[in-house]
Symmetry: C2
Subunit: 282 residues, 2 copies
């Protein structure tokens, strides 16, 4: 497996792959990889000849009070995990390679960036779409694979790809979970043992919503109340939001009229903020 | 010469050119071509195997009170001019092909988009950078050629290309002028005979600035006053701005400390708004 840190070297590498008629998949990550990321790499490998995993903790998607500096990093561990998952290239630039001294250009997706996570992290998705556009131009992929765990991110990126005519197929891979249902996340290592145990209640609340919908409950208000009761049965949880949305447009739903429905939530336990979601189909 | 109107067909065409190892140049235009555009096509042909001219009057760069509806269009004439200039493909999509019903994504370049033309046309460059990013993703060029006539546009696009890592070389071609110095523009057809005659004063004022700088005058205020006096010697002119800027950063200059200096102006005569500029080197 090859490790590339220079933008122009990465572009040159991808040009060569493409001119040979081979297909490139990119898996954009912020590193500190877990089994969820590896599942994306393996899925990418099924679709393409060459898989590039990008590892870059993107400052533009953190607000000043967020955990950019403290975000966990371990490039050597990431590289050996990428190798074992069948990745061909790790692209791991430093911040100076990605953001020049006088960086001024941003890609933004209106409306769907401002809901859900966007309410709590106002410039987050502008940072995400900007860096993903850059990574697309640097890695020149045919296919890009993202995890369903970041449901809103995938919706925002799909919209960017469509609107800006990126000739890239977006594949969304299912969320990988711990045996008790907790979605894998690089931030899970921040959890204390007790918090880690309680954190599984988030997935349980999503499964409760699924059960309610499957039983014919169509009031979002009623389902939400049951989810809140379940989550708050664990001490120390603060719920940022629980939301029921159209899975594509992210339009908020008050009533379950049809499916699929994206049920998503964000909650804080101690110093850790966790997100999770489930796309519910009848 | 081939005419393509579909986005996916254009992308497929460019993929084939690239996989054969050939180089693509794009010349983005709003059509109603003149000798200035043709000079860009000829220059593009010197750098690449295949030249794609895009012809698209982009609604996103016009404000509601501007001349989008009335902007001159003549696709058949444009096509025959492209053919004669050695263009290989005209990409001429309609508005629906470029902007889907629920278009939400924009590319913006802060700071340098807000000066000069940006003061008078606040969302203009956001429309330009968005459509140019789209056209880059659709035509997949190695090289893109723009005219110096739109000096700020070229600065904004160069910055976008650098910041978003588009792997595209930007070539800026010199402004083509009428014998009396008036810069060619699709909007010149709006001028009455008298206005057309007077309009050459704009270039004369730029040449006056050049002469002043070459004679050692370093006060922008003094040079500007002389330019204003010259322009307003013609009746009916309204000057939107005359500005002296660093040619790359567009930082405004109060004193001529060194060259090159971008001197640019916009003025209205009757119902027509004209822009022009000169990069002055000692």
């Amino acid at each position: 497996m090859q490790i590339i840190t220079s933008v122009s070297e990465m572009q040159h590498y991808s040009d060569k792959i493409r001119i040979n008629g081979n297909k490139i998949a990119v898996v954009p990550t912020m590193g500190y990889l877990h089994e969820g990321h590896l599942s994306l790499i393996r899925l990418a490998k099924q679709h393409c000849d060459v898989v590039i995993t990008t590892i870059f903790v993107n400052p533009a998607q953190f607000s000043p009070e967020e955990d950019f500096e403290k975000y966990p990093r371990d490039l050597n561990r990431d590289i050996s995990m990428c190798t074992s998952a069948g990745c061909d290239v790790v692209f791991a630039p430093d911040v100076a390679a990605m953001y020049n001294h006088n960086f001024l250009t941003f890609v933004s997706v209106d409306n769907i960036s401002n809901k859900l996570e966007g309410t709590f992290r106002p410039s987050h998705f502008k940072g995400v779409t900007t860096v993903v556009a850059k990574l697309f131009n640097i890695t020149k992929p045919h296919v890009a694979v993202f995890g369903q765990k970041d449901a809103q991110q995938t919706a925002v990126i799909k919209k960017m790809v469509k609107d800006l005519n990126f000739d890239i197929q977006i594949i969304v891979a299912p969320t990988v979970r711990e045996p008790d249902g907790l979605a894998l996340s690089s931030r899970n290592i921040y959890l204390t043992n007790g918090e880690r145990k309680d954190a599984s209640v988030l997935y349980k609340s999503l499964k409760l919503a699924e059960e309610e919908i499957n039983n014919g409950e169509n009031s979002v208000e009623i389902i939400k109340t049951k989810m809140i009761d379940l989550i708050l049965s664990k001490p120390n949880f603060i719920i940022d939001y629980i939301s029921f949305n159209d899975a594509d447009t992210l339009e908020e739903l008050g009533t379950i009229a049809g499916t699929p429905v994206l049920v998503s939530l964000a909650a804080r336990i101690g110093k850790v903020r966790l997100i999770d979601n489930l796309v519910i189909k009848k």
